[in-house]
């Protein structure tokens, strides 16, 4: 029997993607499911529906409750939460790096560290120095990786990934998509998505 697979589509600016990133590998291991880490950009998707920033900024009551909910969720899960000065942060460079991480096998570790820097420590992940520090912390040759991340091919790849997300029906993050194309939106649906992935491969 093939190992069931679930794609985890995430945006580095997304608060609930932080919650999902920090728990998905343990949950997937329990379920016997393999996770595909799929960084993408929500910015173009939001822009296409007329939003120039996060809906949590556009709709203040929704935004207030999101941050309060994040406080409660992070406390429950033992995760740090420092609200960054800037929200949403520009996750473009982090996403380009994460794609290289997928080629080399360090994407999950890198992505978790980016989320902890951003939402656990309140740092600015649009700052290349912050990202360079993370690359070095996991023992990588930062200069070589930056060069690959900034190549025209890799930039194009991120655009293709974002187009692929739209084609799958994705409109927010995190989203989970099974091999048979079933889309689940939101950290709260991770367990349902893992169950679906398992049931369909059984």
């Amino acid at each position: 029997m093939a190992i069931p697979r679930l794609d985890f589509w995430y945006e580095f600016a997304s608060t609930y993607s932080y919650l999902a990133a920090m728990r998905i590998e343990a949950a997937a291991a329990d379920a016997g499911v393999e996770i595909g880490w799929r960084p993408f950009l929500l910015g173009p998707i939001f822009a296409a529906q007329g939003w120039s920033t996060s809906p949590f900024n556009i709709y203040p009551a929704k935004g207030r409750n999101m941050w309060r909910d994040m406080e409660r969720q992070c406390e429950k899960r033992g995760l740090g939460l420092v609200r960054p000065e800037t929200f949403p942060q520009n996750g473009l460079q982090a996403a380009r790096l994460a794609l290289i991480g997928n080629d080399d096998g360090w994407c999950p570790e890198f992505s978790r560290r980016v989320y902890v820097a951003e939402f656990g420590d309140g740092r600015n992940i649009a700052d290349v120095d912050v990202l360079t520090e993370i690359l070095r912390e996991i023992g990588l040759d930062a200069d070589a990786i930056w060069a690959r991340a900034q190549s025209p091919e890799n930039k194009a790849r991120l655009k293709v990934e974002t187009e692929a997300a739209i084609a799958l029906g994705i409109y927010g993050a995190p989203s989970f998509v099974t091999a048979d194309g079933e889309l689940f939106w939101g950290n709260d649906r991770l367990e349902d998505a893992l169950d679906w992935a398992k049931a369909k491969s059984a």
Copy 2:
């Protein structure tokens, strides 16, 4: 020790309020929490942020996934789901009736029956005949209740309730609010809200 209380703010047009309405009394009984049923209208709240219909209609990808998610959730919970021809439906009359139900003690039963008619059977709850039928099914004098529901005092009361919802920070439905003002949004947060209500009254 006082019995902890949780207010359940719901809108009759809301799909996820259907899920919450059908399970909240059992979950609350398990938790030893008393539920306040608080019907309100999302229309004025949506209108104030520039929406003339449900965000599930305004953003098609979000709407498609909501209906698919409802199919999965209803199947998991053993609830019927027939997508109504009109969405969202106008829940104004149902909400006015439900307030009378709060005075007389039949609000939960009435509200569940309205949701089953709307989302379980795909009927139109803006149709007064559908609502009258429900009132009669639960053994009530429909004419007398309609007269009270349409009184100027009761119409004003629903407006006051909707203003109270806004003052609590509510921007969607279902929402749950504890006695100490903690707001939880969405059917997925019912358990957290019950836990909070219990912990704060302990």
